[in-house]
Structures are given as C-alpha cells and as structure tokens.
C-alpha cells in the first residue's frame, strides 16, 4: 500500500499497462513533451517514445476518430481530452461510431479504447472548462462510462478500462487530481460496473460519484451531529450502472438523496431516482431526492460558481430535511 496523488495513480496505471501491452498508445493534445495540461502524462513519452505517445493537432473529433480506427485494427489507444467540455467536439465519433460498431458489425469487431478526460467545476475556469457532461454519454448504449472518486479506484478502474474490449469514457476530476489516497501495491484492478459502499448508516442513503463522493462523505459526517446515520454509495461506473447496490441500501434506509455535479435536468441522478422508484417502491419512506448543479452554465467567479455547484452543505440539508419530514 502506498499513498499517492489521484493524478499519480492514473499515471502509474498508464505506465504499468503500457509496459505490459505494446499495443497501447496515447493520443492527445500536448501529452508528449508538455505532459498534458494537468501533467498527467508527464514523463511517459520519455519512457515509451513519441511513436506510442503522440501529440495531436487540436481536433478532438479527428483524433478520437483516429483512436476508433486504431482500436478496430489492433491497437489499444488511450486518448486524453484536455477538458471534458471538449468531448462535445468528439461526440460524433463516440456516439455514432465507437458505441455502435460492436452492435452493428457483431463479434468480428471490438473497439478497445479509453477516452480519459477531466471534468467538473471548482477551479474558476468558467462555462467551457468546468462542465460535467457524463449524462450525454450514458444516454448512448454501447459506451462504458467510469468516474472514480479515489486514488485507488482511479488506478484500479483505469487498468480495468484499458484491458476492456469496449470503448470506455474515463471521467477524472480536476479537483481530485490533487487529493492523496492509499493505493494497493502491484497489479491492482477494480472491476467496472460495481458500485462501492463507502460508509454505512441506517437512516438515509446518499448516492454520489467522482468528486461528489467526497462532498457526500462530509455531509454524512456532519449529519451524525444531528443523530442521522447515512450510508454513502459511490457509483464508480455510470454505464452500466450498478443500481442493485443502491436498491439494497434503500430497502434498509427507506430514504435516498442522489448527488451529481452536472446540471439537474435529465441527469445521472434522475436515472438513479427512476430506478429506485421502480425497484424500491414498497420500501420508500420519503420521495427520492436529487442534489445537482443549477440548470445554468458553470460561472467563473468563485461566488457564482459555488452558488451553481452542489456541495456538502446542500447534500446535508437535503438529507436532514428528508429525515425530518418523513
């Protein structure tokens, strides 16, 4: 077990996998010499060469498409999209191509590629460098969408994503890059598609993922001062989504708050709530509730950004309210 930054856990996963499998290549803007905008790939080109670690022109649609073509024909590309906001430029390649080839062409084809990208607000980058667009992706059958919350999961899930024969969008958090955590030694993997119960409590279930898991935990700790014991579940993978773990908990607690950093409408939390309503109807003591970003772009100014983005206080308030009212 070693303590390391979330960002270093990601770099370690990439380096270990590139050492293990020569078919893995990296594609992205400024990833080779510069090491990427967040320095995630710093030093990797020195180890593996600029043949396998390729700086691309600025053309997200184009180089994600190149990755799809490379994945179809024997390579295993890992693409970096500098900010998740820019994934919009690659949506055609992800939604119309990567996600559909296995289904339409059958077992003769697979698309083993990973698109890594940092998401989320909290750094004052403003409307086009702060979004959480995972709901765009989970709406497309054929993509796997992962969003780890800890350094250990970042490493273990990225290794699983790289070994996966399906296209995976791997959502990282720019805030979590600077968080440290214990990471098991050796060839550590975490399966995709399995949620994680972070904390157990009998009164309410709080469901979150990525950076919001941290906020949910803070809220749960604050709630103990009001004699409310919360279970916190980290979804970890958003597609396919493990709502069985959520349902099992809600059957015990009867109450659920679902948290996401993206905008409220049509989001991940809406999907979780719909499934809970279907699967746990007879167990629910209170209406399933969502805490998410306001339905506005992410503003740059700190006070406005905070006003638009969910945090532990909002989560705690929503949870306490449900326990008080029902």
């Amino acid at each position: 077990m070693a303590e390391m930054f979330y960002s270093h856990a990601i770099r370690q996963a990439i380096e270990e996998e590139m050492t293990r499998d020569e078919r893995i290549i990296l594609l992205g803007e400024d990833i080779a010499g510069y090491g990427g905008a967040f320095k995630l790939t710093e030093g990797i080109a020195d180890k593996f060469g600029i043949g396998r670690v390729r700086n691309t022109p600025i053309c997200e649609g184009g180089f994600v498409g190149v990755a799809v073509g490379a994945a179809l024909t024997g390579l295993r590309p890992i693409v970096e999209i500098m900010f998740m906001d820019f994934i919009t430029l690659a949506m055609d390649q992800l939604a119309n191509h990567a996600a559909k080839f296995r289904y339409q062409f059958g077992p003769q084809v697979c698309v083993p590629m990973v698109v890594r990208t940092p998401a989320g607000a909290g750094r004052g980058y403003g409307p086009t460098h702060s979004q959480s667009l995972e709901k765009w992706l989970v709406a497309t059958p054929g993509l796997i969408v992962a969003a780890p919350a800890t350094a250990a999961d970042a490493k273990g899930m990225l290794k699983s994503a790289i070994r996966c024969d399906d296209p995976v969008v791997f959502i990282e958090s720019k805030i979590l890059y600077g968080r440290r955590g214990e990471v098991p030694d050796g060839d550590y993997t975490v399966p995709l598609g399995e949620a994680r119960t972070v904390r157990e409590g009998k009164d309410i279930t709080i469901v979150a993922y990525s950076r919001m898991t941290e906020e949910a935990l803070k809220a749960a700790e604050a709630l103990t001062r009001h004699d409310i014991e919360a279970t916190v579940i980290d979804l970890r993978t958003l597609a396919p989504m493990d709502t069985d773990t959520v349902a099992a908990s809600v059957e015990e607690t009867g109450r659920v708050v679902v948290v996401e950093e993206g905008n409220l409408t049509g989001g991940i939390a809406a999907e979780v709530v719909a499934r809970v309503a279907r699967d746990c109807f007879d167990y629910l003591a209170a209406p399933p509730t969502r805490v998410a970003a306001l339905d506005v772009p992410v503003p740059a100014s700190r006070v406005l950004e905070q006003a638009a983005t969910p945090d532990w206080e909002q989560i705690g308030k929503a949870a306490a309210q449900l326990v008080a009212d029902y």
Partner: protein, 321 residues
C-alpha cells in the same frame, strides 16, 4: 492475356455486378419488399472497382453511405449484402445495419457508414495501426464531395499528412451533395486543389475511366507502402440516379445528365476492352450473363433466409457486459 488485361475483364464483371445488383434492388424497393433507404452508386462503379483493383487483397477499405459498390468490389458476398438489405439474420450485420452499415473485416472491409465524413478519421486511425504494427498494408478511404466539407475530413487528412500515414483518400466527386451542387458549397470547387494545401500529393482524374482510377490508386498505394505517406485522388464522376430512394432527382439540368450518360463507366470500359482487343463482345455478354445469375441467386438466398430472432435484440452491445 496479360494479368492486367484479365484483371480488367474481371473488373468489368465486378462493375456489372454492382450495376445489376442495384437495379435488382430498385426492383425490390418497387415491390415494397425493402424498408428504409438506399444510396445507389449507379454511374460511379469505376471509382470503387478501379481503386480496389490497385490493392492487395489484405489491404483495408473504408466506405460511406453509398457503399454497396465498395463492398462488392472488395469481395463481399452479394447474397449476404442482399440479405442485410432485406433485414435478414444472414445479412452482414444480422439485419442491424441495413444499407449503410455493413462490414467484413475478414476481407479488409472496415465498414460503410451513415455519417457523412465519419469514416475519414477512422480510416486514418486504421492507417496509423498499419504503420505502428509494421504490416505493409495500406488503407483506401472512400468519401464524397459533400464529405470534403466536413471538419472530420479536414482533421483526418491533416493528421495523415503530419504522420505520413499509409492511406489513399479517394474522393468520388459526383458533383452533388444530395441536391447541392459543388459550386454552391465550396469556394474552391476542386477537392484536389483544396487539400493540396494540407501537404498531401493530390490529383484530379476521370472517375468514370476504370484505368485512370486504377493507375492513380496504384501510384497512391505504392507511395503509401513505401513510407511516402498519404495521397488524395479526386475522381470526377456522376450519379446516374437520385441521392437516395426518396430523391426524384429533379434538380440537375437534363443536358448535364445526358452528357454523363454518354460517359457511363461500364460502357467506357466495355468499349476500351473491345477496342484494345482484350475482350470480344461475346466475352462481355457472357460476363453479363454470369452476373445476372449471381444476382438472381443473391436475391433467392436473401429471400429464403430467416428474419433475425427478436430475442437477440440486446446481444453484442458490449464485449464485457
């Protein structure tokens, strides 16, 4: 007969197969036996067959929405193509793809596709694989004049140029993107001229002349195979039909259609084969006859094939789940 001459006669047969296949398809549409749509390549057969004639069998091809010809030219089984069009379980995509979404990786055909320009980066990525895996294979990427306006296309060609990838882009300029004529859509109507600025060798050729296409593609494939990087061929051609099944094609001048009807690529090749003594009229008729039989068998195979089992509708979405 030289190899080149016998290949030309075989390729005449391939072009006839594509033409007859689509004529038969038109008939099936008329009978209401096919749903959805199709984009015929009638009049553009020399582009597909000429370019693929320049390749090795293990070279790779990507296609677009007008892809029946490319696929048949690469060696697809007409029965399985027809079965896909009829939505049958024996179709290349088990009935999931229809006209615009078929592939057979075992013959190097990486897929037709319904997103205009969508396959250009994918073809470029396939070329990156060939380079990094040292296969000596080349990729031919077919697209149209309409796709040449897509960002994806420009992005792909730029990366191929920067990375010296083994790929030949074949732009079939049939002069209309659906109903929009090239001069209405482009400040520089020549695709070859536009992309020459990307640092790629380009040429503009008669796309209705099988030999011209084959020669240009051979040069491009040789360049790609000898680490010389990408080539773009602009093949000037003409759709002798509407854009798709619903298009009555009322936007083109009659004189223009008549002009191109005189340049039907099948007739151009037939005349050339007879004139050069490479085939007799009887040889050509015999090839046409073989093709008729093959198309008839394809339809029989497709019609007698079972429909897909609805129970399978969720299968093969993921490898891992």
């Amino acid at each position: 007969m030289s190899d080149s001459a016998s290949r030309a006669l075989d390729d005449y047969q391939r072009m006839c197969l594509i033409r007859q296949f689509e004529l038969a398809l038109d008939e099936l549409f008329a009978q209401g036996l096919i749903t959805g749509t199709s984009h015929f390549c009638t009049g553009q057969e020399a582009c597909a067959v000429g370019a693929i004639a320049a390749l090795r069998p293990d070279d790779l091809v990507t296609s677009n929405h007008r892809g029946h010809g490319h696929f048949l030219a690469k060696g697809a089984d007409p029965g399985r193509v027809m079965a896909e069009l009829l939505g049958k379980a024996t179709g290349y995509s088990s009935g999931r793809g229809g006209s615009q979404h078929m592939a057979d990786f075992s013959i190097g055909f990486l897929g037709s596709n319904g997103i205009t320009g969508g396959m250009t980066p994918i073809a470029t990525g396939a070329a990156l694989s060939q380079k990094l895996l040292n296969t000596s294979r080349v990729v031919v990427c077919f697209f149209g004049d309409g796709a040449s306006g897509q960002g994806a296309c420009a992005e792909a060609l730029n990366m191929a140029a920067v990375w010296d990838l083994p790929i030949v882009y074949v732009c079939e300029n049939n002069q209309y993107a659906m109903s929009t004529p090239v001069p209405q859509a482009f400040g520089e109507p020549s695709v070859a001229a536009r992309f020459a600025g990307y640092g790629i060798p380009t040429c503009r050729i008669d796309g209705n002349d099988y030999f011209a296409v084959r020669q240009a593609a051979r040069q491009g494939a040789d360049r790609a195979r000898s680490d010389g990087g990408p080539t773009l061929i602009e093949a000037l051609t003409y759709r002798m039909c509407g854009h798709s099944k619903s298009d009555k094609c009322e936007y083109r001048p009659a004189e223009e259609e008549q002009h191109w009807a005189q340049r039907d690529p099948l007739q151009v090749l037939a005349d050339r084969l007879v004139r050069d003594g490479l085939a007799s009229k009887a040889d050509l008729d015999e090839r046409q006859e073989r093709v008729s039989t093959r198309v008839r068998h394809a339809i029989e195979f497709a019609q007698s094939s079972p429909a897909p089992d609805p129970e399978t509708v969720r299968d093969d979405l993921y490898v891992s789940f």
